[in-house]
Structures are given as C-alpha cells and as structure tokens.
Subunit: 213 residues, 2 copies
Amino acid sequence: MTTDATETGAPARRPRGRPGHDREAVLRTAIDLFTRRGFDATSISDLAAELGVTKSAVYHHFPSKEALLSAALDEALEGLSSAVEAAATATDGERSSVRLRTTVEAAVRILAGNLPAVTLLLRVRGNSDVERAAMERRRHIDERLAALVRQATAEGDLRGDVDPDIVSRLIFGMVNSLADWYRPDGPLREDALAATISSLLFDGLRPPRPSGG
Amino acid sequence: MTTDATETGAPARRPRGRPGHDREAVLRTAIDLFTRRGFDATSISDLAAELGVTKSAVYHHFPSKEALLSAALDEALEGLSSAVEAAATATDGERSSVRLRTTVEAAVRILAGNLPAVTLLLRVRGNSDVERAAMERRRHIDERLAALVRQATAEGDLRGDVDPDIVSRLIFGMVNSLADWYRPDGPLREDALAATISSLLFDGLRPPRPSGG
C-alpha cells in the first residue's frame, strides 16, 4: 500500500536509468541484505552503501525501511495468493484433488522463482504491523489450502485417516523447505521439482506396487 | 565444549537451589529469548533481567552468550545425531527402508520434544563459529539420512525415479516444519504425529488402492 507513494511527485528530477538506482534494483538489494543480515540489523544507510547511491536516492523509491519490507513480502505473497485463490474458486468441475495438485505445483514454481522474497516471508515473526499483515495473508493462504484438502478428502480422493489441517501444514512444510536448499542455478529445473514434490506427496516414497499384488 | 567450563571453580559460593537461577533455568530462558527476539538482539543483561538475577549469576553458569547458544544448539543436535547414527550403524540386518522409517519417527519425536532448541537450530545462518559448527553437524546428519535413502532405494524399497538427495531434503523439510506449527500442548501427541508423518511420506496422500485394482 505505502510502497507506491513515491512513484508520484517530482517526475522531472527523477534520475532515470542510473545503474543500481532504479526501484527494482533497490528492492532486490534490500531483500538480499534483509535475508543475509536480518531486517533489524540493516539500515537505509547500509542499503545505500551497498547500492553505491545516497540515502535520498533510496528514499526516492521507498519512504521507509518498512515500505521496502512490505514490497518484498507482497512479492512473495502475490503469486501464492493468486494460485490458491484460482484453485479455490475454480468452477470447471475438476475434482478437488486435481486442483490441490495443481496448486501444490504452482506453489513450488512460485517459491522456486522468488526464493529471496519467499525466504524473507518465511522468517517473518510478527514484530511489526507490516510483518503481522504478511502473517495474516499467509494464514489466509494456509486456510484456503486446508479447505481444498478437506474437500478432496470428502470426495474420497485423499486418505481419510489424517486430519486435513495437519495434512495441509505438512504439504506446505515440504514445499516451503525449498527456501533452505533449492538452488535455481542447479541442475533441477522448476517444472521437474514441482512434478517431483507433488508425486512424492500424492504417491509416497514406495515404488509402485505391481497391479494385482 | 566451553559450556562446562564454569561447572568447576568456586563451588563453596555457588548459590544452589535459588529459584530461576540454576543452569537449566538460565538455558531455558536464553533459548526462549533467542527465539523470540533473535540472538543478536538479546544481551546477557536482558537474560539476567528476565530471570530476575544479576549478570554475574548468569556468568556463573555460562562464560558467554556464545556458550549459551552452543549449549542450546547441542541440545537440539544431540538427539538427532544419535538417532541417525544408530540407524546408520545398525548391524541387525534390518532393511534400510525400515531403518529410515525408524529414523524419521525418532526425528519427529526429538523435534516435537525439543521445539524451542530445534527452532533456534533451524534459524542458524552461520554468523559465528558456534553457528558454523552447528551447521556442520546438521550437514553431517543430512548426509547420514541421504545415505540411508540411497541404500533403501538400491534395495528396491523406495521408488527409483527421484534423486535420493532430493528425497532426503524433502523428508527433512516436512519433518522440520513442525518447528513452525506443532504445539506440544495441543491434541496431537508426539507418537501419533510421528506415525502420521512417516505414513504420509511412505504411502502418500492417496487412499489405499483396492487390491487387484
């Protein structure tokens, strides 16, 4: 909400195209510093120094450190939110288990494609209004996924012996662990990763049983 | 290593039995503060104030903040390490997949029973020698689990279409997520949780297929 406030005003003096100076570069570098050093331990001065610009150049794009955090968390939340909403409101008659699988694979791709922002999101502990708002949105996403698990279980497509709320937490647990170990520049591509995780979750670790056995 | 250094020396003046003042209480409160506020943001003064004792009463048990962190991380690592070592060195002829399942269930119980210390361990980023040593021990545990997954796959008891290293990361991802959501005072007991997680991992989310189908 606050992150776009600086986009208006003083357009004539806006230093366009200066290297390391545009809004996107400021946000990338802020996410990197917040993740490596922690939000509290990072100042706007640190950020400006890392970018090689003045503090006012940073403030030109973001009015405060909180606005930077908010933009970073929004980035992580937007994609996840859209994927879960799309699955929750689908009206094409697809079974819930199919929509759940689609959602899990979309979530894997979103996480793998936005690792720095997602890592920041997963470390948020509710220490400020911005962090609490992000946690509230995460809870909403969790609830949507849990509802989908409940529907799929009620339709008989998921085993009925485990509490759907526990199942959805464990699904997100496995998916979110990507932030700790996945390397986008490694050999495992996002699509293969998404297929692997959904297959492990739905089919388990055992080899396929011979039919009729 | 350093954490036992203060156990010797000046025993005559040691204030035994004073409430909130023994080594165990100091460690519990430190883990709680480190987890809630962060290690960097917590001082020995904060810890002493929280315990209602003097700083020197804290130093009586732990020579430094790093020694407290080291003791906390040791606590989280000891149980995990033992469980994985026991499984890795078992000589009773049990199949690797059975030992893997036993290890996963032991890991769940250890995490669920030591949540504050484990939460601290999982947030460690390698910012000091103590943190780097803990990360090295975690890596060693991860490698032992990955070796067990490889053996079980080679024995034909796990599906062969997923890289065992990815499998072991995803197993730990699901198990470690407990630190974010499991409540030891909730309705789900540790044993049921361990059985649920290992069953989901091995058998997947689908309901059992009818035999012959």
